[in-house]
Symmetry: C2
Amino acid sequence: MTTSGLTPTAQDYLKVIWGAQEWSDEPVTTSALAERLGVSTPTVSEAVKRLAAKGLVSHPRYGSIALTESGRRAALDMVRRHRLLETFLVTYLGYGWDEVHEEAEILEHAVSAAFVDRLERRLGRPTRDPHGDPIPSRDGELPELPAVSLCELAEGAAGQVARVSDADAELLRYLSGAGIGLDGWITVVRHQAAAGVLTVEVDGRRVDLGLPAARAVWVVRK
Amino acid sequence: MTTSGLTPTAQDYLKVIWGAQEWSDEPVTTSALAERLGVSTPTVSEAVKRLAAKGLVSHPRYGSIALTESGRRAALDMVRRHRLLETFLVTYLGYGWDEVHEEAEILEHAVSAAFVDRLERRLGRPTRDPHGDPIPSRDGELPELPAVSLCELAEGAAGQVARVSDADAELLRYLSGAGIGLDGWITVVRHQAAAGVLTVEVDGRRVDLGLPAARAVWVVRK
DNA sequence: CTGGGGAGTTAGCCACACCTAAGAAATTAG
DNA sequence: CTAATTTCTTAGGTGTGGCTAACTCCCCAG
């Protein structure tokens, strides 16, 4: 219901705006959206104008873009679709966790609400996707998990992997190769801030992670 | 490969042209396509012009529209996608055979070639969809089944249901209710051509079918 | 063999989603 | 506090996919 009547492009904009809002305090700007969506700023300007006309976002001239309540609902519906689809691709079709994002990105615009509900039931109402991201409920609830980035962990501290950013498929493959996967245990051995390297121990093996990699891995302490 | 680079609309046109070519000898006209696609004739005219420019169809001015070889390949790829998806929706998500067509109609444009191949493997390389329609192979082979419409059967003759047209969901529900399903046995009891009614026997029960219903059911004799 | 009438195409319009180039606003620098 | 720079928007163009209205072509009937 909430996403019907929206074009795939509009759905994408809402999802990206939601993500930008969620993961940082910086204002959501035209250029930031253009960057993430891979389009020019005028294209974003026009699209945001259309979204505002539909009451899905607010955008004071030259100001920061924000979702309205109905915009947020639509965005979360897309996130729900995306994460359920990723779960399906892994558990039913045997995709790797590095391969699902692109496919889900397209499929999320194509499946019906009935499909999503059936899929959720069939998958056993999962609470997180293959990367550990929580799956929003049908009514827009999004469980918050108490995880922190590997970077936040002090030397000697250990944690269980709860979430890994799916933004970079290459990185996901690297992490798999290093033995890092969901629910695995990691101990931080040494911070080398200057070198931008974090040494961790996984399954008794030592692994050096660059800062981007370390930032992408979220763990639950202890 | 063969369908990539085509818009969903173009894919739909090709599929409909293929269907029109396949199921009747009548020339494929602009107005026939407009009818089936639910758009105006000028819209079809423009779209066909674009398809012809891409070498997917031939259309002599004011003449009949026909697929080229590459057009046929693309159309069959869409048919393959559609039928595999219908099979999936029934076997994995528990859809009824009357509910799958619409959903597959959208999904067929969204799934990747890799998805289709994985799905086919996962489903055990099925040869027909939930309505008995044969599923084209990846290289465009389409098994022909030796079935005839119920109408062709003489009084007293029996046959096994091999294929039911999925064009009308209402009709599919009616047939299910009457106990008619894939692989079931049917005996023709009486033709009443004047009344447009065919009396058949299914599971020991007598059922009266109207002509549209009888035409939609295909059986293998004996 | 000439007129209609119906089918098909062209013309001209709108919306969406993209672009580049140019102009307006806000912020930052001097 | 002006000036320069960055950022955003407007202007104008393209392609796809729709529409209605008007025109053109083909064919059949008289």
